[in-house]
């Protein structure tokens, strides 16, 4: 057995998480087309490779070999910085998400998580709130009024929905009492107890978070910043080649991250039903060592959280190809006059339920 220092192990986990988010985002572009084709009763991509599975590769080749274009009067530095920032902020948040429980080899135990910090929830919230800079800077630097309008829409939309999102997170914080995502996950399943996932305790909060997640990732029905019927292409009107690719790609990375956050906060993260019974069955009936049984459960839990994430990603795409786009005033009215009062009500309700010992 190779002895890995804790830092070495962590850097491997971070590297794997980084590669996985990129791989999943790549195949999200494929899944989006397949699902769109399915929902609209079309064939979808089927030319590149078996079932069109090499389509993302073909897209990448196309993106890389297209002409790089700088619009006249554009701020050259910021025009390049914009898509880079969008991609960096999208990739940063997956560092604190717990993708699995503890793996133990001999006396060493490791978390299947990039960094375990006690401010994980705040980190996610902070990085998500920075995501708008890529869009704003890119839109402004393009020197195009459609891009600027798209950037301004993105900024006002993100700020409006961040409020409701933050307040739905506060309700989760009230029942969990910790900001660490790992602790929150572990609390949702305690051995020997009938412990519920947070969705049971926080149905209103989850609904608010879900709507805000759509708005924060600029997905239909809230994709006003890139509304092509009004703004040509929104903030990325002037972008071409891989710079456009980075913008489109960061959207899928964001969907992946926000799906992971929803799985962790509301759907038990890496926990799955009857995991302790299964572990005890392996130990008692099959004669396994406790450590190897625990490692197997951890790996199954990692498969579990990825299944939850894929389900959410499918939901995002399902909504995109089903619902029409909101109008801009409707979007703002929903955010300010419905979601924020609802989130405040949810906090009061949660406080009352905790006070009377219901949850």
């Amino acid at each position: 057995m190779i002895e890995l220092p804790a830092l070495g192990w962590q850097s491997i986990v971070i590297f794997v998480v980084f590669a996985l988010s990129l791989l999943i985002a790549t195949y999200c572009t494929y899944a989006e087309r397949v699902i769109a084709a399915f929902l609209q009763d079309r064939v979808g991509p089927d030319r590149a490779g078996p079932y069109g599975l090499l389509q993302p590769l073909a897209d990448a080749v196309k993106m890389f070999t297209k002409e790089e274009f700088f619009p006249g009067g554009a701020n050259k530095v910021l025009f390049v910085v914009g898509p880079c920032l969008a991609m960096i902020t999208a990739l940063m948040s997956s560092a604190v998400i717990p993708f699995g429980n503890t793996m133990s080899f001999g006396n060493n135990a490791f978390f299947l998580q990039g960094i375990e910090v006690n401010i994980g929830m705040l980190w996610i919230f902070g990085v998500v709130s920075l995501g708008v800079y890529g869009v704003m800077i890119g839109g402004w630097a393009s020197n195009n009024k459609f891009s600027l309008l798209g950037a301004v829409r993105a900024a006002s939309q993100n700020i409006s929905y961040e409020l409701a999102m933050g307040m739905s997170l506060i309700a989760v914080l009230m029942i969990s009492g910790t900001l660490s995502l790992r602790e929150i996950t572990l609390q949702q399943s305690v051995a020997g107890e009938w412990q519920m996932w947070n969705i049971v305790k926080q149905p209103i909060g989850f609904l608010i978070f879900l709507v805000c997640a759509f708005a924060e990732t600029n997905r239909t029905p809230f994709d006003l910043p890139e509304c092509e019927t009004e703004l040509v292409g929104g903030y990325h009107t002037e972008y071409s080649s891989m710079k456009l690719g980075l913008y489109l790609f960061s959207e899928y990375v964001n969907i992946f991250v926000v799906s992971a956050v929803m799985s962790v906060l509301y759907f038990g993260g890496f926990n799955f039903p009857f995991q302790y019974e299964l572990r005890d069955w392996f130990v008692n009936s099959q004669g396994w060592e406790l450590n190897s049984a625990q490692n197997l459960i951890t790996l199954l839990g990692t498969v579990g959280i990825f299944l939850k994430i894929f389900a959410f990603i499918f939901f995002f795409m399902w909504v995109r190809w089903t619902l029409p786009r909101f109008r801009y005033d409707q979007l703002m009215r929903l955010g300010w006059t419905i979601l924020i009062p609802l989130a405040v009500f949810n906090i009061v309700l949660t406080g009352a339920l905790i006070l009377f010992g219901v949850i």
Binding site: N118, S129, W140, V152, A155, L163, L179, M332, V344
Partner: protein, 170 residues
């Protein structure tokens, strides 16, 4: 001194100078965001993780987005910038200089906590739970008053956004 501290201080000072000297207001805003990031790095070095995260969320994530929003709308550049009279420049320099003087005078005699009193430095003081305990025991009344203030501001924003009777947008 810690090399990370030196690096962060260097970045903080350089980007703060960039805020003042940048010709383009959008560049100034971006330099200011960089300054906030290096300040958050300092908070992390002091083991104040909560303060670091909140600094990023509130200043870099919300307030600076609004700054950028306004500056993009105003479309400030060298041509449209009104020429400021010499009196205003002198007044600004004097006001800024006196603020610097006061800050230096106030901070020149301070001694880091623990060195003067002999009490050991509590490295956990910046953690969320310690901060929460402090806020909810010693500073309960100011904390609650501030939260009511924020709630009023939020209700006000919602009321401003409400549709008035008979108003139609489309």
């Amino acid at each position: 001194m810690h090399p990370l501290f030196l690096f962060l201080s260097f970045v903080a000072l350089l980007s703060a100078l960039g805020v003042v000297f940048a010709k383009n207001p959008v560049h100034s805003v971006l330099f200011l965001i960089l300054t906030f990031f290096s300040l958050s790095g300092h908070y992390l070095l002091l083991n104040a993780q909560f303060l670091a995260a909140v600094n990023i969320i509130v200043y870099a994530g919300a307030i600076m987005v609004l700054f950028l929003f306004v500056i993009m709308f105003l479309n400030l550049n060298v041509d449209t910038e009104p020429h400021k009279p010499a009196l205003a420049r002198i007044a600004a320099a004097v006001a800024g200089g006196s603020l610097l003087l006061i800050l230096v005078a106030a901070l020149k005699d301070i001694v880091p906590t623990g060195v003067a009193t002999g009490t050991p430095f509590n490295s956990q003081i910046g953690m969320v739970d310690q901060l929460g305990l402090k806020l909810y025991t010693d500073f309960l009344l100011p904390f609650e008053l501030a939260s009511v203030l924020f709630l009023i501001a939020m209700v006000g924003a919602v009321m401003l956004g409400k549709r008035e009777t008979g108003e139609r947008n489309f």
